[in-house]
Every structure is written in structure tokens, then in C-alpha cells.
């Protein structure tokens, strides 16, 4: 039962949310590298880390890691706003 619940949370909610943000993060990352990436080193580095975290968390599929990577990118987006 617990495994089934875990499967639903990860596969039905966290993976789609992670993929949704990964789409945005990929475009965001390429845009930053193509424009002012090297002028804001820390932001670019954090964005790159966020992209790697989102990608690897989708492969690893650990609940905590998925939460963390999603939250980290959302924080980066908030900083931008």
C-alpha cells in the first residue's frame, strides 16, 4: 500500500512537475548562456546546478530529491522576479 502511494506521489505528481520545470529551466539556461551568462556568474552557476539537479532527480526518482530540485529552481525563478 505504501509503495503504491509512493508510486502515485512520484509518478503522478512529482515527475510531471519536475518535467514541467525542466522544460522551462532548459530554455532559461540556454538563454542566460547566450546573453548575459558570463556577467552574472553566480546566477548562471546556480542555474546550471538547478538544471543538473532536475535532470538527475527525474532519473533517480527519490521523493526528497525531486522536492528539493523543484524547490531550488522555483527559488531561482523567484530571485529573478
Amino acid at each position: 500500500m505504501k509503495n503504491k502511494q509512493q508510486h502515485i506521489v512520484i509518478e503522478h505528481y512529482l515527475v510531471p512537475a519536475g518535467l514541467f520545470l525542466l522544460n522551462i529551466c532548459l530554455i532559461h539556461l540556454v538563454y542566460v548562456f547566450a546573453t548575459d551568462g558570463w556577467q552574472r556568474e553566480w546566477y548562471t552557476a546556480a542555474l546550471t546546478v538547478s538544471f543538473l539537479m532536475l535532470s538527475t532527480s527525474l532519473l533517480a526518482k527519490r521523493k526528497g530529491y525531486l522536492f528539493l530540485s523543484i524547490a531550488f529552481y522555483l527559488v531561482l525563478l523567484l530571485v529573478l522576479v
Binding site: 509518478e11 503522478h12 510531471p16 514541467f20 522551462i24 540556454v30 546573453t35
Partner: protein, 446 residues
């Protein structure tokens, strides 16, 4: 089953039905838009390549400001009654400056030509009919399917449909992933299951991208109607007062180097791309361009100078505008991926093609489901898919050939007939099918 669970299942079933029917009736449109869109993101690059290699028009080394004044003067002497003239400055080394000239033909018909200028030597090095260019074909096919009457609105409806299938797809995704996990594709299964797996995996993987493309596409397509209905005015639509006769305005000599220097002083961040001398008697030069690093529609920043004094008359810097203006101008850039160089365009093209694949894979699933009783095989299904794909490619190729080698008007006329006939046939088919279904149900009840 509890009442709550039954209600949730019923609403998910409704979303599935919406996903199914909207996808089925607009799938072919989404497929065409996906393919043409993947090409349309590269229009500037494709056009530069064609100008350089097909027309053999290049610029010699440009030292400082590009030079084109003498060539433009020659053109205005050759076409003294021109309706409008736009100079596009070269964006890269060896690229030519381009003059987009609209002239009146007998019978008040307009003709539009592109003239190429070597911006190093200020020499005319080539020309073409603007309407019949490949760049124009790619743009018009994606923007309005070459249908001049309401093709743009049809494309907007395609965008709306893509948004609906994306959102409903997300809602029903969980139902189809009860025993499956992303990104696994079941092995050693038939074509239907393999396509269903790819449909789910690719659909959810590119969902955010497709949603952005869909919503911006819906807005861009339905924009003229929506702006009329909701009384929205185009931002940055400045009109300078008329102070002289249009003929006198067209004949005014312009020192383009002075104009560009004035633009640099008045608006240092502006990268001028297009220069438009007025022809309506306002005696002005409109300079449009970009500000580096911003995600907005191309050439949306502008500066209007007086032709006589080169003093600024109007300035539009998108950075200082309201949120509504900025939101308005972000749509096209987001839709065409025109804000992060060639790499971003490549990603846009690849992700954009996913919606085309989704329409094909969705159609395969539909054929299997429909022919279940008739025992559909992979071979017959693939035959149907290949036939539809070939018909779409044939349509795109025939219209392209007519547009390039005969004329835009003829291509648009043919496309209009084909698209509207297909549309009427599709609507009739849907109505007859619906009528038959409800009729049979009523008979069954009796």
C-alpha cells in the same frame, strides 16, 4: 467505490473525451503547424543563406557604419512613386543591407521587391520578388496556412486546441500511468502499445514547452479578432503629424550616417535594424531595433527622427513600458524562440516537433481502437499514417512550388480552396457521424 471517487472518475473520463475528440479533429492541423513551425524558427538564417548562395549577394568588409545611401537614392529615383521603403541593416559580416520596396502597379495593385546592397561599397548587387521568396512561404504557411481570408484565425484555433489537449493530457496522465513509470517504454509489444507509451512519455516530457507554444500561438493567431472584440490597441503605434505633401516627403534627401549617429546618441542601447523613411508627409525617419538580452518581439524598440533636423520626435523603449505592453510584445519571441541564439532555436525546433509526433501517435492509437473488431494490424495502420503524411507533404510542396515559381496570389488561391473544402468536408463528416450516433441511440431506446 465511494461517491467522491466515482465523481473524480467521471470528470477524468470527460477530460479524456475532450483530449480524444479535440486531438482527433485538430491533429492534422497541429501536425502541419508543428512541422512548419520547426522550420519557421530558422527563417532569418535560411533567408540569409539563400541571399548569400542563391542570389550571390554579399557585402565586402564594412568599416564602421554600413553604407547604402547612394543605392537607396538610386532606387527612389527609379521608383519615385514608391509606397513604402524599409532598409534592413546587415546583422553579420558579409551580410547585405536589404531594401524592402513596395511600389504601385497599374490597376492599383501593389508589388513588393527586395533589393540587396553591398553595405561595404554601397552598390546594388541583386533583387527578388519579396512575396515569392522561400522566407515568405515559410512564414505565411505557418502563420496562416497560405489561406488569406481566415487562415490566421484557423492557426489560432490550432493553438487553442493544442493548449486543450496539453492540459487535458496532464489531467488524465495519472490514469494511464498506474502500473507504469516515466520514462519506460514497454518492450516486445504491438504498435498500439508502443505508440501509446511514446505518446504519454513525450507528451508529458515536453508539456510545458507545448503549452507555451500553444498559448502564444493561439494569441498570435486570434490576435486581430481578439483586439477588435476587446478594443485592445497596438502599443507603440505612434503616428507623426503630416506637415507636407507626400511627394515632397518622398523626395527629401536623407543623410543616413547622420540619422544613425543621432539614433546612437538619443537611444544608445538600441541596435538599429530597420530604417523607414516616411511617405505620408510627416517628414520623419522611423528607426526600429532590438536591445540586447531582452525577450521581446524583434525590432519593437523604436526612435522617430525628423528628416530635416535628425532631432528625436518619439522614442519607444520597451524596458520602460507598462506590464501590459511588455506582455504583448513577449508573445512572438516566446513563440519563435527568438531570444537565445541558434542553440535555443535548435531546441525549439526539436521540442516543437514533439507536437507533430503526438498528433501522429494519437492517431495511431485512435485507428487501433476504432478497428479493434476488424483486427487492425501494424501494416494497415502504418499505411493509413503514411498516406496522411504524404498528403500533407504533397500539399506543402505543391503550395511551395507554386508560390516560388508562379506567384504568391495563385498559391494562396489554391491553398484557400483546398483548406476550406477540407474543413467543410470535416465538419459535414463530424455532423453526419454525430447525427447517426444519436439517431441509432434513439432507435435503440424505442
Amino acid at each position: 467505490m465511494s461517491k467522491h471517487a466515482a465523481k473524480a472518475d467521471k470528470s477524468k473520463n470527460l477530460f479524456w473525451l475532450l483530449h480524444h475528440w479535440v486531438g482527433l479533429y485538430t491533429g492534422i492541423l497541429i501536425g502541419i503547424l508543428s512541422l512548419t513551425g520547426a522550420l519557421a524558427v530558422f527563417i532569418p538564417e535560411i533567408d540569409s543563406w539563400i541571399v548569400k548562395h542563391h542570389y550571390e549577394a554579399t557585402s565586402t568588409a564594412v568599416n564602421g557604419t554600413p553604407r547604402f545611401g547612394r543605392s537607396v537614392h538610386t532606387l527612389t529615383q527609379r521608383f519615385p512613386d514608391y509606397r513604402s521603403l524599409t532598409i534592413s541593416l546587415p546583422e553579420a559580416k558579409e551580410q547585405v543591407a536589404k531594401v524592402d520596396l513596395v511600389v504601385g502597379l497599374p490597376g492599383n495593385r501593389p508589388a513588393r521587391y527586395d533589393f540587396f546592397i553591398d553595405a561595404g561599397n554601397d552598390r546594388l548587387v541583386g533583387q527578388r520578388d519579396h512575396q515569392n521568396s522561400l522566407a515568405n512561404y515559410l512564414r505565411q504557411m505557418h502563420v496562416r496556412l497560405y489561406e488569406g481570408y481566415w487562415g490566421r484565425q484557423l492557426v489560432g484555433i490550432g493553438g487553442l486546441a493544442l493548449a486543450i489537449v496539453a492540459i487535458t493530457g496532464l489531467i488524465i496522465y495519472g490514469n494511464f500511468m498506474k502500473k507504469q513509470s516515466w520514462p519506460n517504454i514497454r518492450q516486445r509489444v504491438n504498435l498500439r502499445i508502443a505508440m501509446a507509451d511514446w505518446h504519454k512519455i513525450l507528451g508529458i516530457s515536453a508539456l510545458a514547452f507545448n503549452l507555451v507554444i500553444a498559448l502564444t500561438g493561439a494569441w498570435l493567431g486570434l490576435q486581430p479578432q481578439l483586439m477588435r472584440w476587446f478594443n485592445i490597441t497596438t502599443p507603440n503605434s505612434y503616428e507623426a503629424p503630416v506637415v507636407m505633401e507626400p511627394t515632397a516627403d518622398r523626395q527629401m534627401a536623407i543623410d543616413w550616417e547622420k540619422a544613425l549617429a543621432a539614433a546612437n546618441t538619443e537611444f544608445p542601447d538600441l541596435q538599429p535594424r530597420h530604417l523607414l523613411p516616411s511617405t505620408d508627409g510627416s517628414g520623419t525617419i522611423l528607426i526600429r531595433g532590438n536591445i540586447s538580452g531582452l525577450i521581446y518581439e524583434r525590432d519593437i524598440n523604436s526612435l522617430v527622427l525628423s528628416k530635416a533636423t535628425y532631432a528625436p520626435v518619439f522614442k519607444y523603449d520597451v524596458r520602460t513600458q507598462s506590464f501590459a505592453d511588455q506582455f504583448y510584445f513577449i508573445q512572438e519571441a516566446l513563440h519563435f524562440g527568438d531570444f537565445g541564439g541558434l542553440m535555443l532555436k535548435l531546441i525549439y525546433a526539436l521540442l516543437g516537433l514533439t507536437s507533430g509526433f503526438l498528433s501522429i501517435s494519437g492517431f495511431v492509437i485512435y485507428i487501433y481502437r476504432r478497428k479493434k473488431k476488424k483486427q487492425a494490424t501494424a501494416a494497415t495502420t502504418m499505411k493509413i499514417i503514411v498516406a496522411y503524411t504524404m498528403l500533407v507533404i504533397l500539399f506543402l510542396t505543391v503550395i511551395a512550388l507554386i508560390s516560388l515559381f508562379v506567384g504568391y496570389a495563385q498559391a494562396s488561391f489554391l491553398a484557400g480552396i483546398l483548406i476550406n473544402t477540407l474543413l467543410v468536408a470535416l465538419l459535414l463528416y463530424a455532423l453526419i457521424k454525430y447525427g447517426m450516433k444519436t439517431g441509432i441511440k434513439r432507435l435503440g431506446r424505442r
